[in-house]
Symmetry: C2
Subunit: 372 residues, 2 copies
């Protein structure tokens, strides 16, 4: 156990404070606040220091908890590599080296395959739908069952919204153009492209640009304009394709060591859960508010060529996605359980989605005059 | 001042606790927790008791604050009519009869015209975009300036998402079919329909169905399938039109009496702000998750005929919306300030919206096979 393990500190403080607490009770008060009974957590992340969106999510999580708990729970945030490398954040939290971590569920699919279905599903839910499934469709409970196997409590904690289809140096005019392509694309999207004849690779974000420069990869996706501009991907790729069929939304995760979580008082648990929900919302808002400007910068200042995947290409990718998802989930009961729940939600929801969000965005794009 | 005014209670308790507090400090502690220093608020709402979505938002707000503050701030929620009528909630909070209220910004446009632009804008932002504007586009600050004139602190606190276009007993095949129509439709959408020759009316939700039954109105909009099913609107109207061009999203508001707000400690302020953000997200998730099922029930069990407004009708409504918004904001500086900020956000964002959310939802609707 480390010095910062909350259970140990709390037990110690309770023992040390016994006599004085009794004095305060005798003076007519309830349990006195123990000013020194502060819990300190380490938070490891999969992100570069202060990386926009995902990286600031962790900082925001720590700052809001500190403010709402009046400093009773304080959290020191570590960027990738500061305490452990990006993809070892889950190990660190499982073991208790850190009490909390931040990343994306598909980063831990090597530990538990089913986790990747919580991050993003090709042709699957948008951010709004993902949140609805987690919060009202049984998703939180299913996710908690999986994370408990890694000794963690789970919260959705940030969402990128719709991603972009990726950066390419050759045109993608049909599904065949993915054949032989070496592309950085993690998770299920990578599996779909593998079925299309590409070689998918999952590089941590610090390695993407060098790999594109060296020719280790021909193409890459990352997130969307806001993050892709920050990473400088336009420097080594010409065409920027949309939409991000493979990640209609990507959920970021907050995972908390179960001993650290269980040691929290009920009000601190409520605060941590509440802050995760806030950060989940605020990060999406950050992406939504920053992507528009970043897109303009990419196109107008950096000469990026914006291209849509054709309907034929997207239909073929949709077809392959369905086949790959059916295959992958057939061989793993946990994956099947997650996918089946998400898919039932999708079936039930698609009719509404078509006549609400989709119909409204179509209407907004009609050719009427608008002030300003 | 009422018995429940927090300032008074806090002052009283501080005075009464002086001696005992000194004892605890002498024993080596910081400021002791005053177990009896509980703040009690009354929350008035514009909603029927336990009304789905909007009504449960207020209950959730109270329950989450109670949990996160460990009972230091407790809130008694009153449905419309229990303490004051629906549309007098703002008066009650401005004066301090209640400390907090929940409704929608356009309900208070009689007090301050500009507030309606915070609720919903015809052909304007979706829920995701509204949140982004409030949280990262300067919207919170602009809204706070307006609510301060009503002696209130403001938080966005729930969102319906895309609404439906309304319930009609005759077909709407062109913009001309709105001529002479008496329709319940509040806010800016009502002004647009007035320009189209209709007579808009803003009835509180308890009066909508009776007005439709008696023929006082010919048509009505309310929210979307989840709420409209609960209100029973299908009983007296045949056609259910989409999309809700007039309310691409509707923001619900939480408004807090400024003296009550300023009397809170910093950590309680942080908790209240945090809970408002959570509820804002959770209510949208509730609508998104429930609308799909409710739509199926309306169509399959109640024989409702679902109809799209034609592109020509929507284009004409978009054109009229732009004209009405330009006219209305030209004569009111506060309205102009809000609309101009929202419109700048819209201009900057539309390109991204087209290639992300809209392109993704179009792709998802292509004719590929899908498991399940």
């Amino acid at each position: 156990m480390t010095r910062s393990t909350p259970i140990k500190r709390r037990s110690f403080l309770k023992a040390a404070a016994g006599g004085a607490g009794a004095t305060a009770l005798a003076a007519g008060f309830g349990t006195p606040a123990l000013a020194k009974d502060k819990i300190r957590w380490r938070m490891v992340t999969a992100w570069l220091p202060n990386f926009p969106g995902a990286g600031t999510a962790a900082t925001l999580f720590a700052r809001r908890i500190e403010a709402e708990s009046d400093g009773r729970l304080s959290i020191q945030v570590y960027a990738a590599g500061e305490l452990v490398p990006a993809f070892e954040a889950m190990d660190a939290v499982s073991k208790g080296t850190a009490q909390v971590g931040h990343g994306a569920p598909y980063y831990w699919k090597g530990k538990l395959t089913a986790l990747q279905y919580l991050a993003a599903i090709p042709f699957g839910p948008t951010a709004q739908e993902q949140n609805a499934w987690f919060q009202f469709g049984g998703g939180q409970e299913l996710a908690d069952k999986l994370y408990a196997q890694l000794n963690c409590k789970f919260f959705p904690c940030g969402n990128t919204g719709v991603q972009m289809g990726g950066w390419f140096n050759r045109e993608i005019n049909s599904i065949d153009d993915f054949g032989g392509l070496k592309m950085r694309i993690p998770g299920l999207g990578g599996e779909v492209l593998r079925a299309a004849g590409a070689t998918p690779d999952n590089l941590p974000l610090g390695e993407i640009l060098p790999a594109l420069q060296s020719g280790r990869i021909d193409a890459t996706e990352f997130v969307g304009p806001y993050n892709d501009l920050a990473l400088g991907l336009y420097r080594n790729a010409r065409y920027y394709y949309y939409p991000g069929w493979h990640e209609p939304a990507t959920c970021l995760d907050c995972f908390i060591n179960l001993e650290a979580w269980n040691a929290l008082s009920d009000d601190l648990k409520a605060i941590v859960e509440g802050v995760a929900t806030q950060v989940n919302q605020l990060v999406l808002s950050e992406f939504v508010s920053r992507n528009g400007l970043a897109l303009n910068t990419l196109v107008n200042q950096h000469g990026v060529e914006l291209r849509p995947f054709s309907d034929d290409t997207l239909t073929a990718l949709g077809q392959l996605s369905g086949e790959v998802l059916a295959d992958l989930t057939a061989s793993d009961a946990e994956s099947a359980e997650i996918f089946s729940s998400l898919n039932a939600f999708r079936q039930e929801h698609m009719g509404w989605s078509d006549i609400s969000e989709h119909a409204m965005l179509s209407a907004r794009g009609l050719p009427y005059n608008w002030p300003g």
